[in-house]
Amino acid sequence: MMASFKQWIDRNLKGDPIIWGIVILLAIISILVVYSATGSLAYKKTGGNTEKYLLDHSMMVFMGLIVMWVAHKIPYKYYGLIGKFLLLISIPLLIFTYAFGSTVNDANRWLTIPGINKAFQPSDIAKLALIATLASLLAKKQKNIGDFKKAFLPMIVVIGLITMLIGFANMSTALLLFSTCLLLMFIGRVPAKFIMAVILVGLVFLSASVFLGQRGGTFFSRIEKFVATDEIPFQAEQSFIAISTGGIAGKGPGKSEQRNTLPHPYSDFIYAIIIEEYGLIGGATVLFLYLALLYRGMRIVASSTKPFGGLLSAGLSFALVLQAMVNMAVAVGLGPITGLPLPLLSMGGTSLVFTGFSVGIILSVSRGDHSDSMEGSGEENKPRKAFQTV
């Protein structure tokens, strides 16, 4: 029985088994905590039918895992192309959403897919596509990475354009994505002087979005609130109470009290609820799981044979884990309130599917066999040479 199960796993779940394990563990935690945290939401919206959110969320988690499985089946070399394609699609989608999308908390971020009636954020697609495209660009230009015109300019134009479009409606996501891209450029050996220049250019673009976009006011008021330390915002205060009353071992699953007063306990502040229910131990475990995920993603870089795979894996891992770190930092009061969900854990509907997609890509890179098969085909040997030239 066990043997056949293991065989099945070996046959179907390729790639880094530790990443698989971490993701499945996080999915289980996610369902548990979201079920507990949606109590008050369910009471208000469905008249006490808490199972509604449990089922909806479990469904999306499952969808995310399916997409992840499908994505890890696709050889990663195609993701350069897929990334560019998605990037081209995402530009009109972002503009369309900004103009006509549905409003949540006064920002147009969501677009409803007709037919299945699921809303998604085009910025999720754009984020994924931008990182894949950037990884591909970086890999191609490794030979002359120091060339401003040929290597650097195309990258910064793409990054600037996409983050600006996202920034109109969602400044936090744009800023985080921009930082992730900078980090990826640093990893991809872009000279430091260019990165400094990028920061300057970025600031110009960002301020433009802030003044033109919808969320500029909110963005600045949040920063202002964070800087003015004597005034602790309501959410932060409630989050701190949740964290400090959780203690070392927590109040126990489903025993959160702060879920009733903390706004968005199932998304933005889910980490506070995790600590309240599972204590410092639970909080540290989740922190550790994300670090472990990043570590495994980083190991792929070391083991991969081509820069594209390594950079793709690194980019996606950092994007995911950085967002997680920012979310948790906000919950514990290390940063201003951003409204970013905790990837893989928060109840976020279709966002879970896109997160699953990006983990699937990381897994695809982690399978040695895809790159082997490429070597076998013989046509893709050039990048390898390029890898070794300098």
Partner: protein, 702 residues
């Protein structure tokens, strides 16, 4: 450096940076828990935020004329945490506080209050209910200025717990019908039966606990707003209810009876105008509304002679008898098997007509006739009972309606004596409301309508539900039978057992009932007396039933006990209700020839046309431009005839209201003197006389 090694190195640097961030997060958690822990825990207790229920305001209950029968007002329960007050505050204030409490509640001495509070303070009891009596808002304001209390919740330990309480502006008027609802959501009357509409839906909102122990709502988009309850509009008439209750009470006291009830119903619509229920209080003197005998289970009793109406109806419908047929009641006794039927009059009525038998309420005559014609097939008799729906609950709007009880032919307990006794109102059980429904149907020319007490459910101006009169049976019997029954019921008051309530002003029709009470399986010398009927008999407007249980004294029959109450109520309603009172109701404004629509005598044509058009009265005007007109009533319309005032002669102002007459005449330069009220009847200078400036014209209004 090798590209790959460089990349791997850079990734590791980035990883270390992220790991440092993770470390910082971990450090912050530890810091929050162990360094700031107490601060946040304290905060969670002191500045507590909580989703609290926001109670929906309960709907009001209105009478038919819009007066409030029940509404919700805030009251306060006075609770004290005696430990809160500081020693010096406590010592300085306790004596005067105890004195004030004692003089406010008047139930315990100042010393008792002082001892009670001091004891709670020393034993550490933190929640002391000072008095169960809840106080109003004004008193709460006053009380919060008392010593110790004036230091507030945090300084003085005073807690005013708000309780929303039902308030009935008319106190006990129809109290059992308006009803109540206790904390377990159980109750009686309209409050209980219509609770799902009245209660509304409670909401939820985020509250912050503020100093003083009150909760302050915090604005939050995730609030669920309470949905206030609906108002209930009843058919009850406060005046009739008042009349019914006081008339009943007087007679109950007079006869020292156990309980009594009155229902007044509008014949055509089935609208219940009053339900009074009074019962002797168990522990104390007087009577109170403790049970709805008119409708509920406990009101189910053997109806007695009022049931004879059905027996006669069945006999007439079968075509077996005529009102002038002769029945031999013999010496007033008649044996059916092992039981003897007796008439009230010693020695019997001898040979009498059916009409007389009913008017005198002869048990022997009715039971003999019924046994004679239905004895062989009692189910045919039962078919008439079923036809008028007496065997089924009415489905009345109030919950807890008593279900009628009838034996069925062929059942174990159906004896040979069952039918004769059933025909005079025994061996079965009905509520007063049921009996009244039957009498109302007779008054309504055979059309049986379902009694109703709630006519609409509404919130603000939006009507949620409107109840129309429900017709149970278009016709309970043939027109001929109904006419005969009406004649019989009038006869009871004209010549029969209720002769004492005969009135010259208007006619009452009805039937007395006196049933011996069955207690522990034996008929006793206690009676259940009733009178059911309607008035005015020639054009019935209201029907009513009066029931008085166990009257004491010599005259314990329906005619002597219940009928006078009926009469008193009918008299008062008759005097109040102008529509009933024909003599004064004939309007003097009605001109010759028309009595269909209001008669307008004269005025300005555009105004009159507008008024008439609004009311849908057809009117015609052939003239042109003339402002002033007089009306010429046609068969079904009004013709306006112009009444020129432009000529230099005195105009005809007869029929004009004073305002218009003054305008017309003073424009001519005349000076007006007038007497009386209303429209112009006479003018001292005839129309057409040349106008002389400053002449005085005398008007007589009327």
């Amino acid at each position: 450096m090798n590209i790959k090694r460089s990349i791997v190195l850079r990734v590791r640097i980035a990883f270390v940076a992220v790991a440092l961030l993770a470390g910082a997060i971990f450090y912050k958690i530890v810091h929050l828990q162990f360094v700031e822990g107490e601060k946040w825990e304290a905060k969670s207790e002191s500045i507590n935020f909580q989703y609290r229920q926001v109670s929906a305001t309960r709907g009001n209950i209105y009478a038919a004329d819009g007066s409030l029968l029940a509404t919700s007002l805030p009251f306060y329960r006075v609770v004290m945490d005696p430990i809160v007050a500081k020693e010096e505050v406590y010592r300085a204030g306790i004596d005067s506080l105890a004195f004030l409490l004692s003089s406010y509640y008047r139930d315990r001495s100042a010393d008792t209050y002082k001892r009670m509070i001091t004891e709670a303070r020393t034993t550490g009891k933190r929640y002391l209910i000072l008095n169960r009596k809840q106080i109003g808002y004004q008193d709460m304001q006053k009380m919060s200025q008392w010593p110790i209390f004036r230091n507030g919740r945090m300084g003085g330990g005073i807690i005013f717990e708000k309780v929303e309480k039902r308030y009935r502006p008319f106190n006990n008027l129809a109290s059992r019908t308006v009803g109540f609802l206790n904390e377990d959501k159980y109750g009686v009357g309209i409050e209980y039966s219509f609770n799902e509409y009245l209660e509304g839906k409670n909401g939820r909102a985020l509250f912050q606990r503020i100093a003083g122990g009150s909760w302050k709502p915090v604005f939050d988009a995730e609030d669920v707003k309470p949905d206030d309850g609906y108002d209930i509009f009843t058919t009850l008439d406060v005046n009739i209810q008042d009349v019914a209750e006081s008339a009943l009470l007087r007679q109950l006291i007079n006869k020292d009876a156990e309980f009594g009830c009155v229902i007044v119903m509008e014949v055509e619509t089935g609208h219940i105008k009053a339900i009074a229920n009074l019962q002797k209080n168990k522990s104390s003197y007087g009577y109170g509304e403790n049970y709805n005998f008119a409708i509920g289970d406990q009101g189910l009793t053997e109806p007695g002679s009022t049931f004879k109406l059905i027996s006669i109806m069945a006999l007439l419908e079968e075509g077996k008898i005529g009102l002038n047929d002769i029945v031999d009641t013999g010496d007033g006794t008649f044996r059916f098997y092992d039981r003897t039927m007796r008439d009230v009059k010693q020695g019997g009525y001898g040979k009498i007509t059916v009409q007389e038998a009913f008017e005198k309420s002869s048990n022997v005559a009715i039971s003999k006739l019924v046994d004679q014609h239905f004895g062989h097939s009692p189910s045919r008799f039962m078919a008439y009972v079923e036809k008028v729906g007496l065997d089924q609950p009415l489905g009345f709007q109030l919950r807890g309606e008593g279900a009628p009880y009838f034996k069925k032919p062929g059942e174990k307990y159906w004896y040979g004596t069952t039918l004769p006794w059933m025909s005079i109102g025994y061996e079965s059980k009905l509520t007063p409301l049921h009996t009244l429904t039957l009498y109302n149907a007779v008054a309504n020319n055979g059309k049986m309508v379902k009694p109703m007490i709630v006519q609409a459910i509404a919130k603000g101006n939006a009507i949620e539900k409107k109840f129309q009169t429900e017709v149970v049976k278009k016709s309970i019997a043939s027109d001929k039978t109904i006419k005969a029954l009406q004649q019989l019921l009038e006869g009871v008051v004209n010549n029969g057992t209720a002769k004492n309530i005969f009135s010259g002003d208007y006619k009452i029709a009805g039937k007395t009932g006196t049933a011996q009470k069955l207690i522990d399986g034996r008929y006793t010398q206690r009676y259940y007396t009733s009178f059911a009927g309607y008035f005015p008999a020639d054009k019935p407007k209201y029907s009513a039933i009066v029931v008085i249980d166990s009257p004491k004294g010599f005259n314990a029959y329906g005619g002597d006990v219940s009928a006078p109450v009926f009469k008193e109520i009918a008299d008062k309603i008759y005097a109040q209700d102008l529509k009933l009172n024909k003599k004064t109701a004939v309007p003097t404004y009605l001109a010759q020839g028309i009595n269909e629509f209001p008669f307008i005598q004269a005025g300005k044509v555009d105004e009159l046309q507008m008024i008439c058009n609004k009311f849908g009265i057809s009117n015609h005007y052939n003239g042109q431009g003339d402002n002033w007109v007089k009306s010429v009533p046609q068969v079904k319309s009004i013709q306006w005839k112009s009444n020129p005032t432009e000529n230099p002669t005195v105009p005809d102002v007869s029929g004009l209201p004073l305002r218009d007459a003054l305008y017309v005449l003073e424009n001519k330069g005349l000076r007006v003197v007038y007497q009386g009220k209303g429209r112009v009847k006479n003018q001292s200078i005839s129309p057409g006389t040349p106008v002389q400036q400053n002449y005085v014209i005398n008007l007589v209004l009327g």
